[in-house]
C-alpha cells in the first residue's frame, strides 16, 4: 500500500516518517473523536500539512510532536463543530463498525459490544482515551506510551490502571456483557 516514494530522498524521508508515526497520529485523533475513518482523515490531513511545510522550506525540528499537535487540534476542532451540529453523538456512530468473516449472530453481538464500548469511551476524559487507545490499538508498552505522552513510566501505569477501571465501572453499570 506504500506509494512509491521514488528516488527523491525527501519523499523517501517523508514516507518513512509516515510509516513510523502514522498510526500514532491516527490513535491520538481517534482518542479525541472515536471514529476510525474520521481519525484517518485527520491524520492524513496532518501529514499533508507537514508536507506543505516542507514544500515551503519550513524546518520542523520535531515532526512527531508537530504532527501530534496538529492532529489533536484538527480532531478537537471537528469535535466542537460536530457537537454543535449533532449533539453528543456523531451521526455515523451506529454504522462505523466493520464487518468480519464471522457468523451473523457473532457479528451482531460483537457489533453491539463495540458500540457500547465506543459510546462509553466517549464519556471518558481525553487523557484516559489517549492512554487506552495507545495501549490497545497500537499495543504500545508503558515506556513507549510514556514517550508519546511525555510522562514517566510509573505515571503511565497509574493512568492506565485508572482509565481501565473507569471504563470497567461504566461497562458494568451499563450491563455490558463481555466475551469470556
Amino acid at each position: 500500500m506504500n506509494p512509491d516514494p521514488g528516488a527523491d530522498p525527501r519523499r523517501r524521508e517523508f514516507d518513512a516518517l509516515y510509516q513510523r508515526f502514522g498510526r500514532e497520529v491516527w490513535a491520538l485523533a481517534y482518542a479525541r473523536w472515536p471514529d476510525a475513518d474520521l481519525a484517518l482523515d485527520v491524520s492524513q490531513e496532518a501529514f499533508l500539512r507537514l508536507w506543505k511545510q516542507w514544500e515551503a522550506g519550513e524546518r520542523i525540528e520535531n515532526p512527531r510532536a508537530w504532527l501530534m499537535r496538529v492532529a489533536r487540534n484538527l480532531a478537537e476542532d471537528f469535535a466542537k463543530s460536530s457537537f454543535r451540529r449533532n449533539g453528543t453523538q456523531p451521526p455515523q456512530m451506529l454504522n462505523g463498525v466493520k464487518s468480519a468473516t464471522k457468523s451473523p449472530q457473532d457479528v451482531l453481538e460483537e457489533r453491539e459490544m463495540y458500540e457500547q464500548i465506543r459510546g462509553l469511551m466517549g464519556e471518558l476524559a481525553p487523557a484516559d482515551r489517549d492512554i487506552l487507545t495507545l495501549k490497545y490499538a497500537l499495543d504500545y508498552d508503558a515506556p513507549t506510551i510514556a514517550d508519546v505522552l511525555h510522562v514517566n513510566v510509573s505515571a503511565v501505569h497509574m493512568r492506565l490502571s485508572r482509565a481501565r477501571q473507569r471504563l470497567a465501572d461504566r461497562l458494568t453499570q451499563a450491563g455490558v456483557t463481555l466475551p469470556p
Binding site: 500500500m1 521514488g6 525527501r10 517523508f14 498510526r23 501529514f47 470497567a168
Partner: protein, 114 residues
Amino acid sequence: MTSSSPDGLDRALTAYFHDQVPNPWPACRALEGNPTPVPAARRRNESVSGRAILALSVAALLGFGLLLSSGFPASHPAVPATDPGVLRGSTADGTNLIPPPKKVPMGDKEGPLN
C-alpha cells in the same frame, strides 16, 4: 459474564481497538497527489529563466514586426509635394482661395416658382 473480569476487558478492548485501526494501513495521501517539493532556490532560478524567455519572445516579435514594415515600400509618398497646411493656388491674403462662381446664363423662362 460482565465487564468485571480484567482479562475479559483486556480482550474486549484489544478486539475493539484492533477492529478500528485501518488495516491495511493506507498510503500517505500527501505523497500520492503532490509533486516533489522544489527547493526555493531552484524555484527562483526557474522564474528568472521564465522571465528571460518572455523577454526574448517580445524582442523577437518586435523585430519581426519591424522587418515586415520595412519590407513593403509605400505606394504613395508619405510627405505631400506642397507645403502642408496651405491650399494649392491660395495666397497669403486669402484671395484665390476659392475660385469665383461661374455666371450661368439665365433663359427666357422664369423659374418654376414664378
